[in-house]
Amino acid sequence: NLRTRLSKIFKKLKGEAFLSEKNIEEALKEVRIALLEADVNYRVVREFLTLTREKALGKRVLNSVSPAQQFIKIVHEELVKILGEQATGLLTAPVPPSIYMLVGIQGSGKTTTCAKLGLILKNKGRKVLLAATDTQRPAAREQLKMLGEKIGVPTFTEGRTPLEIALSALKTSRKLGCNVVLLDTQGRLQVEEELMKELEVMRDRIKPTEILLVADAMTGQEAVNIASTFNERLSLDGIILTKVDSDARGGAALSMRMVTGCPIKFIGTGEKIQDMEAFYPDRIASRILG
């Protein structure tokens, strides 16, 4: 693993006062391999190594830890810093309801995440309405409705088009006295032009409090294109990383955070509705490094 490979590089450093430039370059090569294996995007890796090099150069060798440990700590700290140093919650709208719109590519976990957030907010004392706007996928509205029933939260499914359902859901939320509306949307590739336009229209008409990208932690190099396109078109407020319970290293988290600057707000850690936690960068950073 990375730690053993770095130990080999730095063991010749006995008696030196500073981490040498040559040692740092060799060490960065190993970090590069580790990050690429972890699915961090090629260009994001390059940028990250540049930032890390600046941090490592000129660092005095500490007596308390091995140079390899010290270097890993520098890399780890830089990762945590970029991933976002603390969990940020969801914004509350000044005038209710707070509207959270979930978007992302097919199969990323939006519908399940919609219910998971519904449960979290319900447990915080909010009055939640789920809105099922996916009219394309077979039994999509039924899926959200079943999840809503499981957590004791109403689900709105009536309408012929996604926009119609969303607008009617808003009307209904006011009637029901709900202060949170969670909008589930159809999965779409970032290159499906008509569907991306549909989301832009929905954003303009609904004016959500937050637009959240739901993205699979196992995503590879394309995480950059997915996140940056959704962000450019919609101006995202946050990212939710799903399937973190897989054994994927999760480099997509670093890629998406770095190209959009959006905070990762929650992580999905399983298929059950309870399996959602606030995002803490420390654990993900360790995972990415392997």
Binding site: L36, A38, I105, A139, M146, K150, T219, Q221, N225, S246
Partner: protein
């Protein structure tokens, strides 16, 4: 899109970047770069295409059909990759050839999984066997197998719940489902399921190799469907999967409609990487 062009002068870094970004993985990319360095020629793109094509092992990509029906296909894979949708596409193609298709709603766990498959069955013209949510998936599967035999279906396709390969209990459940399919057939040379088809999402990175490795050890996967290739992801990890695990990619999913399934051809795939 590829920035490699005919006669254009490319740095090794540019080539490496393009290959890494297709999710092939460092190991495969290093092999390719080494092969490229040994070759001479102005048209880097053509040389690269040849070398990538040469990496594909000569695997049999034909669907396995049982000499005596039904041909049983077990669909497996992690969550959200496109198993259920791919079943619809396969069923649709078989039905267009005049075959009788039965589907088994063996995902008894996920919300609306049974309704989803039911709607798909009705749309493409397949029949379906289902129990209630929470039922033992093995029991549903056995029930479907009985029906397939009694009513002489040509194909029986088993839908299973998505699951992480790292979940030991769920992988055991899948092994049980596979075992029950061969219980009525201990005399036949080609025991069902004749095909164990693993579905991989082209957007997943290096983890697809681990998924294939673990599912293959547990079930002996006979073919792969690579889905969502209509996106920008290339799914290059299939090169390592084919080379090291010798599992053939048999189909690719290129959209959400019932005819969006294409037979996999290494040559077509290599061309698509450069689009």
């Amino acid at each position: 899109s590829s920035r490699l062009g005919k006669g254009k002068d490319h740095s090794w870094e540019e080539i490496e970047e393009m290959l890494i970004q297709s999710d092939m993985g460092i190991q495969t990319v290093d092999i390719l770069i080494e092969k490229l360095k040994k070759r001479k020629g102005a048209n880097i793109q053509e040389i690269l295409k040849e070398e990538i094509l040469a990496l594909f092992p000569p695997l049999n990509r034909e669907p396995i059909i049982s000499p005596s029906p039904p041909t049983v296909i077990l669909m497996v894979g992690v969550n959200g990759v496109g198993k259920t949708t791919t079943i619809g596409k396969l069923a649709s193609s078989f039905i267009k050839e005049g075959k009788k298709v039965l589907l088994s709603a063996s995902d008894t766990y996920r919300a609306a999984a049974i309704e989803q498959l039911g709607l798909i069955a009705r749309t493409v013209g397949a029949d379906m066997v289902k129990h209630q949510y929470g039922a033992d998936p093995t029991a549903v599967t056995f029930d479907a197998l009985q029906s397939a035999l009694a009513r002489k279906y040509d194909f029986l396709i088993i839908d299973t719940a998505g699951r992480m390969h790292s979940d030991k209990n769920l992988m055991e459940e899948l092994k049980k489902i596979k075992r029950v399919l061969s219980t009525k057939f201990n005399y036949s040379p080609l025991l069902p399921p004749q095909e164990v088809i693993m579905v991989l999402d082209a957007h997943v990175g290096q983890n697809s190799f681990q998924q294939a490795h673990v599912f293959h050890k547990a079930l002996n996967v006979t073919g792969i469907v690579l889905t969502k290739l209509d996106g920008t992801a290339k799914g290059g990890i299939i090169l390592q999967i084919e080379r090291e695990l010798e599992i053939p990619v048999k189909w690719v999913g290129v959209g959400e409609k019932w005819d969006d399934l294409v037979k996999f051809s290494p040559r077509d795939y290599v061309e698509s990487i450069f689009l």
